[in-house]
Structure formats: structure tokens, C-alpha cells
Symmetry: C7
Subunit: 281 residues, 7 copies
């Protein structure tokens, strides 16, 4: 056997030795390149994380570091895997089956991670398009409240009852933002059919005028816009105006009380439902 | 070893040196082409962004620049990646596994970005087919309001309550546009079974005629079209007409008040619900 | 170096020069073919657009031209891309990675454009199967109105309130078309339990007969088909007949008024809800 | 140059000329085969269309011809494309990139056409399994009516109001067919708590027996099956029987009238809702 | 030219002739194998169809034959296609593009046929797991009725109103089977607040005991389980027992009548809703 | 011809004969390996089936055997197919097209069988995580009842009405299990506004205390937790306590009866709805 | 034959023997590498499981070991499969068809396991983002309760009625967490129109002040915020305040009782619905 190996070594030409040397050199270079890539990756990811802080994504220190390490790990294993595959290829091993197996595993994870990618993309656009900022009062699907945190993956909304709502950004399609414009004040008052509609409008407009004159939150003084319904109770009048954003709830409550007082004072009947009873036996 | 290398260098023929030179030349050309492509890309993207302004897509200056830089970055990394892959291939490295790995990553991102592509395509068709313009009053799913901005990815709709609604274009399938045609005025009035239906119609038509004669917003004078319901309250008459777009709400309110006055004046009873009570013990 | 190149040029045989020439020739032919294809494409697309006008798809002049240019651009870039790829292949560059990258991009766009393709295919079948034509009154999901425009991608429906509804054809699955057959007239009248059912039927049939005799819109004279409900108000009779398409609303209103008059004239009681009250203390 | 070509031609051996000849022959054969395939396709498609008429799929003459031409075009372009690809391959052009590009386009169309394929497959099974035939009264999702046409892609259903409903077969999952068996007659009658239940059952059964004796549509004479509800109005009795398919509506109306008369004649009280009123001050 | 061919033929060695012979032999063998496969397929499919009858899948004779022919056709064309592809490959034609084109077509059909495969797989498990048999009363989604036929692809359910419901097996996820266990009898009786609850329970239990003693369908004698509701009408008692499968409807009706009689006989008040009226002016 | 074959046989060297022999040997080995694999498969599958019985999956004997044979068949055909493909490849037949065809078929079946795989995976986790066991009372979507069988693919739930519900495990996402913790007793009692709330609470707590003292099912003695509603009927008090799992229904019924008796005894008014009537003419 | 083999062995050069030796060496190395990988895998998986315990994922001992063994098995079979494939490849067997078959099987399982991957990824983020912890009161879709266990795949929530709810993490999109902030106390009180609104507010605020002064759970003393509704019963006032998390239910019940007492004491009328009755005959 040694005899054969000896013969075999002698038989090699300079070319063959050099080809072998070139192969070994390539493998070394592949691993050098891999370690350079890892350094590069570390710089890029770090810069991304530092940049994130500036454009207003809130992540606390500890989470930030955990996430950073997670990404480092994923990239590190991917680079090691690729370097290994190329080295094996250079060594003459057929890596098709390994790549196919890894590919199926990767696809399975990729499908499962689909919604994660969608969350991040939508999150980017929410911030980029400034759909809402921290402190805005928004409604997303059936959740309303004040935005407390906008992350790349999730948004935290503080509800009125003190509850915190966590919603992945990818689930957010239609957003209603109530803090980007004056709010409408809408109050309705029903009067009896017997009452004088014109006088009721006059009385309501007057009492609102008095209330609104000394209220800086009111942008457009509310006024009766007309008769919006005639049903089996009476005639419904609607009052509409504008206030600074999100001030309308308090003003609506005040207006209701003021209109109630004014109607009673002016003896304009607030009607109860009526029923005509035909008695038989 | 040096001895071997020396021998090896001598053994090379002119052909082999030239083949090596050709390879190196190809690699240089690949990177020259890549840098040319990058310049070309910059011109094409810039032209697209300038053109966008003309066909009426509203994007503010700062966002525009951020988006432009984003696209530049994506394209730049794609071109660098391709140039690197081809260079590696020329150097004799098997890049199959690298491409496969990048491909799976790309697919994962592609699946997640699916809705982004859909948003942009639908956005293009909304503008191209002129489905609505800024200022139109539209209804999309359960959101109605005035369009404030049409972007390639999202549409902003200002609701009546002062809220701003942001909806991705890809979520918009059925659009109802109320600003592209005269609006219908529809008012209903219920009279008692005892009342004379023909006289009630006459009275209502007369009072509407008086109201409509001096109103330029009315396109087709509303009139009673007939009896639309007979229930346990009375006989319901419907009044239908046409106004300029979106003027119908105000006119409906006015008509309600006018009809109420006319019926009372003519002593035509507006009925309350009735109940026949059979007393027993 | 020049020495080497000189040696190299001398070393080439006629065959090698010819192979090079053949390669260059192929590249020229590829680009000639590409420009011929572009001309062919222009002819085919133009013919398609001219043909479209004939089979009744409405597209205004300006949109048509924009769309045509869009398709030209897409095809032109595809052909340039293919010619470039083949040329690069002939020059010995490995284009696998370029094609893979372009393929992933193409797939991403393809997935996003899926609904666009579905819209056009469904649009084709709507026209081909004549599901509805311009002017028909149809109902699609929760939208009803008169069809104003049938395009390849969208259908425009004018609602009763003057609103225009735009629906992508791919969203249209079930269509209800009310203009392809006579409409049914359905009116219900409730009489008291005390009333004579047979006489009420006779009275109603008589008054409808009188009304229908001089109405050309009525195809089948409406008649009482029987007792359809007995509840806590009274006995409900149903009247059914046929009219020309979409004429039933007006006739139903007229019939209601006529039946109301006839019942009152014949002293057949229209009942109110009844309640038996047992008084206790 | 000519000198070189001349040298080159001389250098060719007989083998090389023959190989060239063989290649040219193959290309000619490919196109001959393509034209034969086109003829074959025309025969197969025509036979399919003629066969379709026999198994009861209704397509009018003009539509049939249009559809046939459409299929011919699709197949013709596919065959030309394949012949071209093979020819290019024989000429030494690398067609990978062309096939990849065409493949992505094909997939995009394939995904969009998915529902078309599903329509046709489901349509085939509807006919094959005889789920319903023209003239049957069926309910599919929220649409009921008489089947007017069963096509491979869609089904047309004529609704009671004269409307035509077009539903793609692929949308049809659960079908309810009312014309494949006797229909149930179900009528309910409520009597007061004071009434004698046994006597009421007797009275109702008797009057139904009289009615049913001379009615050929009744398969199983309806009879009172018992007390199905006791609520705040009274005791509800249910009458159940069987009629020929779809005859139950008319018979139910007749039975209601007959039962009403019989109860009144026998002084069995039909109750109104009752309320015990406790008066206070 | 002939001269060249002659030279060419002479130049062939025995080896070359034999290689050609071997190729031709392979082609012949491929087609022989294809025809053998077709015979085999016919045997396997026939055996499957014969076996189907045994495990209880109902298919009428004619449908069976049509389906069998359909499967034969599909398999036959697939085998011919494969044999043709291999033959072309042996003849030196590059079949990649043909296979790619056929593959895309196949995928499109495959996606469309997905629900067909799902129907058959679910159908197999319904039969295998014996989820229901012909004659069972089941509820699937919103359809209830008696199973009339279980096929591999669909299930036919006969509804109470005489309607036949056809549902693809793949649409069946949750099945409720009422014929695999004794049914519960549930009857509720409301008595006035003034009534003596204990005596009412005693009275009801007694009358049910009498009724149940001579009824073989009752498995567990129904008895009052207690007070299940106290509302503004009175106190609601619930009676629960067990009967043979599907016998509970009739027994519930009988029990209601018996309880009604017993309560009246024992002067236990069945209450009407009550209202306390406070009269003002 | 024989002459040629003879010449050809003579021309073969020992190497060529041996290569042929090696090929034939490989083919034989492939089939030997295939038959070994089949034996191995039989052992593995059998061990799996025997193991299944131990971890508590209930499958009756006959079903078990059928399923085992099914899996054997699928694996057997797969192994035969693979062995055939490799043999054909060794014989020099290009099997790409066969594999592609089989692959498309396989994918179609794979997509259809997706929900089957999901059923089994979810089933595994239900058992592994012990989400519920046989005998537990659970609620899955809109089905509640006692678990009767947990299989790998389906779960059988016995409903209260005696119905058996079969639900595939893959359809089970949210499970509510009522048998893994003490149940809450919740009873509400409404008293009139005039009644003394404190005294009512005292009375109720006392009567519950007496009831609960001799009931071993009660874990935490129910008590009045306060006023939960004030509406137009009266003041609603809520009683809350804990019982052994699933004992709460019976105890709630008993508590209702006890509270009713106690309130009546102590003359605390159980209110009826009230209405203030203002009489006019 | 032996003769041939002998000749054949002699004919082999040293090179050929060495090539064979190299091949055999590679195969041995592959299996050595495989067994090393298996050891490595065991270490990595074990470290992961030990690490899991630290970051707060609760898994009991036995489940943990079962899961660990499961993962070991999957990885072991994957490594054996890959080693076998590479060995077969080295032996000259074409493994394409085996890999393709295994790939399709893998994809089928991958698709089915998609939701499993999604569960784990979402679970990771729930823990990482601290969306909720054990002991928090949360609402997920229609399930509310106290979190009892957060696993990688599922979350267990204990409902108020004592039920345990098991929900896969992948099904959790929107989470509402009530334990991360003070809760709002919201109580409404309705007073009659005749009552003095200002005095009622004063009375309510006073009684709440007294109650709240000695309650440490109250963070912000509740107060009347105004009139929130005027309907046909009366004027509704709303009281709003803040308590420690989840203490609001008890405080709301106490406030209701206190307000009820205060209103009665101050003779402020709590209204019943009113009806104006117009008597006729």
C-alpha cells in the first residue's frame, strides 16, 4: 500500500501539486472572507440600531441588546453554513441534498415568519407616513385609545378603561386618527310636535351662544342645523359645531345640560313616547 | 516550494496567461458595468419621482427624498450583490448555495411585501381610472368622508367628526363616490289612516314647490311619489327629488320642517302608534 | 505583454477566428430579432386596442393611449432584458444569479398583480357571457343600481341616491340582474280578524282589476293569492302580479293607495295591534 | 476574410457537413410536427365542442364559435412558442432566460385563472352528479329560484321577483334542491289558553280532511302533530303534511284560510297578547 | 451531396451502427412499456371501482362507467405524453421547454383541482371513521337532515321540508350526529310568582310519570330539575329526560300538552307578562 | 446484422464487459435494498402503531389494521417508484419528465392533504400538552360537551342533547376546558327600588349559608357581592361562589329556589317592570 | 469470468486504486462527520432547553424530556438521510428522484406545520415584548381571564367561571392587558327630568367623596363628569374615576349602592320609563 502511495506521489506533476495548493488557498480565503463578513455585519446592524433610536422608534435598552444579539446569531449561523457548503463543494462533496434539505426547512420557517415580515414593513410605513404618533387618540378595528408606543413590530394603545392594547402592525389596515383635526360637536334635542320649532331653535342657539362665548376650546360655535328626524316621539333637532381636537366630549356634556335647562325654562316640552289607546271590551 | 512555483510559471503558455488576463478583464468590466447601472438607476428613479408630481400624487418634499434614498439603497445593494456573485463565479467559486440562501430570504421578504405591491398597483389604477379625486365625498367599506390625499400606497379620508382615516389602497375594493352626480333628496312623511291621502299629497307638493322655487341647489323639484308603506302607525308618503352633489342633507332638513308646518296648518294628523286595548278582569 | 498578445494572435487558427465571428454574428442577430419583436408587439397591441372598441368596452381616448404606452413600456423592457441576458450568456458571463434575482422580483410583482389578472379574466367573461349591459339595473353584493360602464377591470354602477359605485370585476361573483325579465309586483294588506276574508279578497281584486285595465306596464294582472300570515294584528293577504322590467315600484305604490281606498270605502277594518289587558291591584 | 472562410469551408469534413444537415433537417421536422399538432388540436377541440352539446350544456351558437376561436388561439400561440424555443436551442442560443421569463408570466396568469379552472371543474361535477337540472327550484347561499341555464362556468337562476341571478359554479358549494322530493306543508295555529286543546285539534283535523280530500297535489294529508309552543299569547299547534314538489306554498295559504274559518265557526278563541296591569299611584 | 452521404455511411463503424440500433431498440421498448402500463392501469382502476362498491360507496352504474372512462382517458394521455417526451429526448430534441410549458399548465389545473382532492380525502375519512351512515340524522354547518347518500366527493342530506342538500365532503368539518345516542327531552314550564313552586314540581312530575309509564321510547323518565330562570313573567321550571334517538320531538309535544292540562287542573297559574302602571297627569 | 453484432461483441474489451456487469450488479442491489427497506418500514410502522396504544390514543382494532395497511401500501408504492426510477436512470433513460409529471401529481395531492397533516400535528399537541382528556367537559368553537374520544385526526364530543360531535383536530384552535378547576356559581336576584338593599343582602346571605352548610359540593360559600345593575325594573344583586367542577348548574338551580322562598317570606318585593302613564285626550 | 476479473485487476493503475481508496475514505469521513454532528446537536438542543427555563417559559419536567427526545429524533433522521444521500451519490447512484420524492413529502409536512412555526415565533415575541405575564388579567379575542401559563406554543388563561382556556400563540393577534395600569371606574345614574340636575350632581359627588376618603384602592376620586344622555326615561349622569388595577369592579358595585341610597335620601327621583297615553274610542 505505501508502495502505491509513494508511486502515486511521484507521479504527481508540479501542476497537480499547485492545483491542490490553489484549492487549499481558496478554502482558506473563503473562511477569511466569512470572518470579514461577520465583522461587516456587526457594523451594519449596530449602525441600524443606533439609527433606529433617532427616527423615533422606542425600544428599551435591554430589549434592544437582546434583539441585536438575536440578529447577530441568525446572520452568523447563515454565514457559517454558506462557508461550510462552499468548502464541502471544493472538497468534492455533492451538497445538493444538504442544500435541498436546508431549503425546505428554510421555506417552512419563512412561511411561518411571513406575518413577522409584514409587521415590520407595515410598521415602517406607519412611521414613515406619520399615520399616528405617540399621544394621538386613534381607532384601529375595534380598539380605541391613546397611542403609548409605536414599535417596528407592534403598537401599544392605552384604552379609556386603563387597559393596554397590543396590536401587531401587520394587523393594522384602516387607521382612524382623531388627533389630526378639530373635532365635531354633535348634540341632538327632541321636542314635542306641539312645540314651536322656530322658537326652540332660537332658544337653543341663544343658550349655546352664551356658553360658547367664554370657552377657548370651541373653534366654531355650535348651532342648530335643522330637523333631522320626525318619529313617534317628536321632532329631533341637531346641533353641530367644532372644537379643538378631542375636546368635544366635555363640551357635548355641557351643551346637553345647558339645552335641557333652556328648554325647561322656556317651557318647550321634551316629549315622552306617545300611544293612542282605543279601548274596547 | 518556490521551485515548484517557478517551474509552474515557466510551464504556462501564452494562452494560459491570456485566459487569465481575459478573466481579470471580465471582472473589471463587470464592476464598470455595475457602476454604470447605478448611475442609470439614479436617473430613472429621479425621472420617475419628478414625473409623479405631475400626475397629481401628493408627497411632501421630505418624504419624497427619504423614499428616493430608500429605493436607491435597495437597488444599489441588489447590483452589488449581483456583481459579487458573477465575480465569484468567474473566480471558480460555486455560488449555488449563496444564491439559494439569498433566494429563500428574498422569497420570505417577497411574501411579506405582497400587500405593499398590491397597494401600489391598486393606487395606480385609482388614479388612472379617476375613481375619486381630492375633495370628493366617498365611502370605502365602513369609512365615509372627504378625500384629503391620494398617495400611491394610501388614501387619507377626512371624516365628518374631524377624524382622519388612513386606508391602504390595496384594501379598497368597492368605492362609492357621492360627488360625481346629482344627489337624491328623500324625505318621508307619515299621515294617519283617517287623513285624506290625496289632499295630503297636494299640500306637501305645494309647500315643496314654494320652497324649491327660490333654491338654486335643487336640480329636480321634489314631489310625492306615492304610498310606500302602510303599517300600524299610518300611511307613509315618500318625497323624492334631485339636488346638486352633496346638497341633499341641508335640503332634506329644510323640507322636513316645511312639510311639518304645512301638515299642521292644514290639520292633517301626524299619527302616533295606536293600540286597541281589550280590558278584562 | 504586447509580445504575448502578438504571439497569441498568431496562434489563432482560422477556426478560432470564425467561431469568434459566428458569436459576434449571433449577438447582432439577437438584437435585430429583438427590434423586429418590438415592431411586432406594437402591431399586435394596437390591433387589440382597436378591436376592444368594437366588442363594446368603453375606454376614453386619453386613458386608452396611456394604457397602450404602459403596455409598450413593459413589453419593451422585457425584450431588452431578454436580449441582454442572451448576449451576456454568449459573452461567457454566468447569468444564473441575475435571472434568479429578476425572477424573485418578478414573482413578488406577480403575486401582487394576481387580483389584477383576476379582474381582467372575470371582466372578459362578464362581457362574453353578457351577464349585464350598460343600462341594466343590477345588484352585486350590497350595491344596487344602474350599470353605467363595463370596463375590462372595473364596473361602474350608478346608485339610486346619485352615487357612483366602482367595483373591480374580480370582486363580482354573484350578480343579480333585474332587467332581464318581467318584475313581480308584491303588495300586502292586513285586515282585522273580524273582517270577512272572502269579501276583502273580492274587493281588492276588483279595485286592482279596474286599475290594471288601463295600464300598459302590467303584464299579468295582480290578484290576491291567499292568506300568508295570521299574527297578533290580523290576517295578511298578499297580492302578486307581473309588470314590465323595473316598473313594479311605481305600480306597487299605486296599488297600495288603491287598496287603502277600497278597504275604507267598503268598511273593511285595517287593524291596529291589540292587547288584552287584565287589570289587578 | 474570404480567404479565411474559404480555408474554413475546405477544412470541414463530410461529418461536419452532415451534422449541419441533420440539424437543419431536425428544425424542419419540428415545424412540420408543429403544424400537424395544430391540425390535431383543431380536430380534438371541435369534437369536444360537438360533444358538449350532447351532454346538455347550453351554449348559444355565437358564443360557442367565439370560445372555440379563443381556445384555438391560445393553443396555436403555445405551439408556436414551443417550436420557436426548440429551434433556438438547436441553433445554439441559450433559451433558459426566455423560458424563465415566460414561466413567470405564465404563473401570474395561472394564479389569476385559478378560479376559472375551479368553476369548470365544479361545473363538470354539478352536471355529472346531476345536482340540479334546468327547471329545478334550488337555493345556493342566499339565492333561491328556478334554474334557467347550467353552463360549464356559470349557473343562471331565475328568482321569484323576476330577477336573473348569475353565479359562477366554483362559488357553489352547498346546494339545496327543492324539486327532488315531496314538499312539507307546515302551518301553525295559536289558540288561547282558555280554549280546549283537544277540541281545537279535532276541529282543525276535520277541516283539513275536507279540504285535502279533493286535492290531487296532497301526498300525505296534513294533521295536527301536537303542541309546539306555550308562550305569553297562547298555545301553538303545528300542522304537518306532504305535497307534490313545490306545491306547498299554495296549499299552506289555503289551509290557513280554512283553519281560520273553522276556529271562528267553532268559537275557539284566537288570542291576542295579554298583559296583567297592576295599577298604582 | 449523395457522394457525401455515401462517404459518411462508409465512415461509420460497426459501433456507430450498433449504437443507432440500440437507440431504436430503446424507443421501441419505451412504447411497449407504455402499452403494458396502460393495460396495468386498466386492471388497477377496474379493481378499485369494483372494490368501491363493497365498502359501501353508492354510485349508480352509469355514473360509474363515465367516471371510469374519464380516469382512463387522463391516465392514457399522461402515459402517451411521457413516452413521447422520452422518445424525443432519445432523438436528441431538448424537451425542457415542452416540459416547462406542460408543467405550468399542470400546476394551474392542480391548483384548481385542490378542493376536489380535499373532497375525496375527507370523504375517505368520513367513511373510514364512520362519522355518519345512510339514515343518520346529522347537522353540518346550517344544514340538518337525514343522510341519503355518502359518496367519495359529496354527501346528500334530505332536509325536513323535503329538500335535498348536496354538500361536498371537503366542506364538512364539524359534524353533529344525532343518531348515535339517546336524545334529551327538554321542556320548560313557567308558573306565576304567586304559585307554590314545590307543589308545581310535584304536579308536573306526577303527570309525566303517568305519561311515561306506558311509553317504550322513554329511556330515562323526565323529571323537573329545578328553577332555571326568574324573570318579569314568572318562575321557569325545566323538565329533562332521555328517549331513544330522535324520539324526543314527539315526546316533547306530548309532555307540553300533559303539563298544560295538569297545571290547569290543579289551578296553578300560567302567568302573562306583568306591568306596574303608575298613573299621573 | 448478426455479423455486425458478432464483430461488436468481439470488439468489447474486458473493461466494457465488467462495466456492464457492474451496472447489472447495481440494479440488483437497488432492488435488494428496496426489499430490505420495505421490511424495515413494516417494523417501524408496526412499532408506531403498538406505541400509539400506550400513549392513550383510542383506535378500534379493525380501523387500526385498515390504517396500517393503507400506510404500508403508500410506502410500498413510493419505494417501488423510486427503485424503478433509479433502474431506468442506470439503463440510460432520461427520467426527468417522469419525475416532473409525478411531482406535479404529488404536489396536487400534497396541497389537498394539507389539512390532514395539520389535523395530525394538532392532535399530537392536544395529547402531548394534555389540553383535555376523555371525560372532560369542553367547549370548542360553538360545540360544548363531554369528550368521548381523542384520536390523532379527530375528537368526538358528546353534547348535552345526546348528539355526538365530530371535529377534526386541525379545526380546534381555542379550547375551553371546564373540568380543570372549581366552577363559579353565579345567581342574580332583582329587588324593587322600594326594598331595603341591606336587608335583602342579609336575607339572601343567610338562606345561602343554611343551604351551603350541608352541601359537600360547595368549595366556597356563595355570598352577595353587591349591586350590579340599576335599571327600569329594580336593583339587581349578584351572588357568587365556587363549587367542585361542573356542579354549579345544580347548585344554581337550588339557590334560585331558596332565594325566591326567602325573599317572599321576608316580604321583599320582586319587582315587575314599571311604566309611568300620563293620560291625555 | 474470473479470468476477466483478473485481467481487469491487473489493468488498474496505481491511480485508479488510489481514486477508489479516496472515495472509500470520503464515505468513512462523511459518517464520522455525521456522528460528530449528532453529538453537537445534542449539546445545542440541551443548552437551549436549559436556557428556556431561565427566561421564564414553564414546561414541566416530563413534557420537557419528551419534547427533547422528539427533536433529537427528527434531527437524527435528517442527518442519517443526508449522509445516506451523499454516500449513494459517491457510489454513483443518481439520487435526484429520491431527493425529489423526499422533498415533496417534506413540503407537505412543512405546509401542515406552518401554524406550528407561527405559534412558536409569536410565542417568542409575546415573551420578548412582555405583552403579558403570568397573573395578568387579559382579553384575547373573546376570551378573558387570568394568565396561568405562557408556553412557546400555547397560552393558558383561567376564566372567571373556573374554566381553563388554551389558545395557540399564533392565534393571538390583538391582546388587551388590564393589569398594566390603573383601571377606570364608570358608573351611570339616571334621574328624572323633573329633578334638579345640579343638586343631583352635588349629592352624588358628596356621597362618593365620603366613600372614597377611606378606600386605599382609589387612585383618583370618582366624580360626575356631566350629562351623557337624555332619552325617554330621564337624564343620565356618568361618574368616572380611577382605581388600582382590577379593583374597579368591587368599587363600582359599592358606588352604585351608595348613589342609590343618597338619591333616595335626598328625594331625587329615579325615573321609570314614561308613556303619554291618548285615550280614544
Amino acid at each position: 500500500m505505501f508502495d502505491l502511495i509513494f508511486t502515486w506521489l511521484n507521479r504527481w506533476t508540479a501542476d497537480q501539486y499547485l492545483a491542490l495548493g490553489y484549492r487549499i488557498l481558496k478554502m482558506i480565503l473563503i473562511w477569511v472572507a466569512a470572518s470579514l463578513l461577520l465583522k461587516l455585519e456587526r457594523i451594519v446592524v449596530n449602525r441600524f440600531f443606533d439609527g433606529r433610536a433617532k427616527i423615533g422608534i422606542h425600544v428599551n435598552r435591554k430589549k434592544n441588546d437582546t434583539l441585536r444579539e438575536l440578529i447577530h446569531s441568525v446572520v452568523r449561523y447563515a454565514i457559517y453554513f454558506l462557508a461550510l457548503m462552499i468548502t464541502l463543494g471544493e472538497m468534492g462533496v455533492d451538497t445538493t441534498s444538504i442544500i435541498a434539505t436546508a431549503g425546505i426547512g428554510g421555506l417552512a420557517i419563512g412561511f411561518g415568519a411571513q406575518s413577522l415580515v409584514k409587521d415590520v414593513i407595515t410598521g415602517f410605513f406607519i412611521i414613515f407616513e406619520d399615520q399616528y404618533s405617540v399621544g394621538d387618540f386613534i381607532k384601529v378595528e375595534d380598539i380605541s385609545g391613546t397611542v403609548e408606543e409605536i414599535g417596528l413590530r407592534i403598537t401599544r394603545i392605552r384604552g379609556f378603561k386603563g387597559d393596554i392594547n397590543i396590536i401587531p402592525n401587520g394587523q393594522i389596515s384602516k387607521v382612524t386618527n382623531y388627533s389630526r383635526g378639530n373635532s365635531a360637536v354633535i348634540v341632538e334635542a327632541t321636542i314635542a310636535y306641539e312645540a314651536d320649532v322656530d322658537r326652540a331653535i332660537e332658544v337653543i342657539d341663544k343658550v349655546i351662544g352664551e356658553y360658547a362665548s367664554d370657552n377657548p376650546d370651541i373653534v366654531e360655535i355650535p348651532r342648530v342645523i335643522g330637523v333631522v328626524e320626525m318619529d313617534n316621539v317628536g321632532v329631533t333637532l341637531r346641533v353641530v359645531g367644532r372644537t379643538l381636537p378631542m375636546k368635544h366630549w366635555g363640551i357635548e356634556r355641557d351643551l346637553r345640560k345647558a339645552i335641557l335647562g333652556a328648554l325647561e325654562e322656556n317651557r318647550i316640552e321634551i316629549p315622552y313616547p306617545r300611544l293612542v289607546v282605543l279601548n274596547r271590551d
